[in-house]
Symmetry: C2
Subunit: 260 residues, 2 copies
DNA sequence: CGCCTATTTGATCTGATTCAAACAATGTGG
DNA sequence: CCACATTGTTTGAATCAGATCAAATAGGCG
């Protein structure tokens, strides 16, 4: 657990917020002055648990975290995956009581920010408050999209959609190549996120491979056919509300398209 | 379409926000000065559609609205139900582009508030901005809870949970009696909200009636056994983040309990 | 090597869907 | 006030997507 002042952790945060909305120089300066307490997490470590009343929020710097909750019968639902730049428990700033848990999926590095400092930041820069609000609203948009999938889409479409989403989000913070990205998530975890059993996730992934849309091996996802995957997954990135620059990546066989 | 200044519409809003967080007199005064444009809606009318860029938000005054989105194959998922006091499209204040639709489920009365006025209000009363943020976060908490249900709970539990939620929310704004409330929602709509077919909703409702937990007739829900329904539905209202006063209603056969 | 965790395969079962039709309630116009 | 259209609820039967159970295989890694 180290204390950092304007280290690489801050850059992840700035990059993420810039993917949501533009930032002025002054706002950026304020962000860089946030006190961060960096900590390493091993997989399975929870940084907040249902029932907690946290006084810090955590910025992901390396690795994947997720938010989740258990059924009375002990079945788990994962609500979201979080990648570097995300602040998965930002909501605890406005909602005292945690109604779900947040934990590391992989070895991860996170930086804790005292709520105190965030409140100061927000009153100094109301625009940043806006951006943080926006961020939680985008969170909610992702929840809705997952809900639509779990409630109404077939297993194969659901998985394809999730892979599209993660790929696009990773690209938005420069953590994906042209056609591949890390995907250090087990099939059991995918199942918990998609409302499917592990066995069925496995079979649906095989279907995606059979159709030559993706490769998925040793935690690396390779997109073999982006337009195909997007179509099968019914993926339209609008709900991610990303700023212009990091838009949809087009497939190699599609010329710059007419629709915008 | 009328223009109102400090009518009954404002009271619904104040009551709702008070159920989330306390308000000072000055804050209340500011709220009462919001310009509202009241409008009557017939069932099925959409007040915002996926792709829109609204410049007003709408406060529900009478009736039920819902938010929803369609799959590529035309299957609908309802994300939330909205009752008087709610501002279902508050998010359009911070996220320009609608990524889903909002429509009336029943005959309804809504009051439109220009984004402009809301922005002024928020800069005059930063605390109200806080409360509005809180409200959207509670929205997101409800999405998560629904996700958990759709992904991991059985159909009967899912329905029971939803009925509990609506009853508690209606009580929080004084729209429910001790053991009954309006429930003007068709079984098809329940299905779209719960990720179930109409037929299966019908059968699961029969199960709830067979167990003597509820009566549901002509749009009126009667709770016959609250503790039983709560247990079957695995319902714990924490995620609604309601302020103390409007807590869980206890069953008639349970003395004031030990846990708090 | 042996342990542990993750993936894969096969066989079987079931909760929920789909399709189809009957029924009930409400409203509309003649 | 009745015939008829409309919308919602209920029932039955067939089918299916996905779950469950069980076991085999494949990778790391100390």
């Amino acid at each position: 657990m180290t204390s950092a002042a304007a280290g690489p952790e801050h850059k992840a945060l700035v990059k993420k917020l810039r993917s949501i909305a533009p930032l002025s120089d002054e706002e950026t300066r304020h962000l860089l002055e946030l006190p961060l307490h960096v900590r390493q997490l091993r997989p399975g470590t929870d940084i907040a648990t249902e029932g907690d009343r946290p006084h810090v929020s955590c910025l992901v710097t390396e690795g994947f975290l997720c938010r989740f909750k258990f059924t009375a019968e002990g079945r788990r639902q994962i609500f979201s995956f979080h990648i570097p730049g995300d602040i998965p428990d930002l909501q605890s700033l406005a909602l005292e009581l945690m109604d779900h848990s947040v934990g590391a999926l992989t070895p991860a590095k996170v930086a804790f920010i005292p709520h105190e400092s965030l409140r100061q930041l927000m009153s100094a820069c109301p625009r940043i408050a806006q951006v943080l609000w926006r961020d939680t609203l985008i969170d909610a948009a992702v929840f809705r999209e997952w809900m639509l999938g779990i409630g109404r889409r077939t297993s194969v479409t659901r998985i394809a959609h999730l892979l599209c989403e993660l790929f696009v989000r990773l690209r938005a913070v420069d953590l994906a190549g042209d056609d591949e990205c890390d995907m250090p998530v087990t099939q059991a975890e995918l199942g918990d996120a998609l409302g499917l059993s592990t066995v069925h996730v496995n079979r649906s992934l095989q279907e995606l491979r059979r159709r030559r849309l993706i490769r998925l091996n040793a935690g690396i996802l390779t997109i073999l056919d982006w337009p195909g995957l997007e179509e099968l997954g019914e993926f339209d990135p609008t709900y991610l509300h990303l700023k212009g620059a990091v838009r949809k990546k087009l497939g190699p066989d599609r010329t710059s398209s007419l629709w915008t």
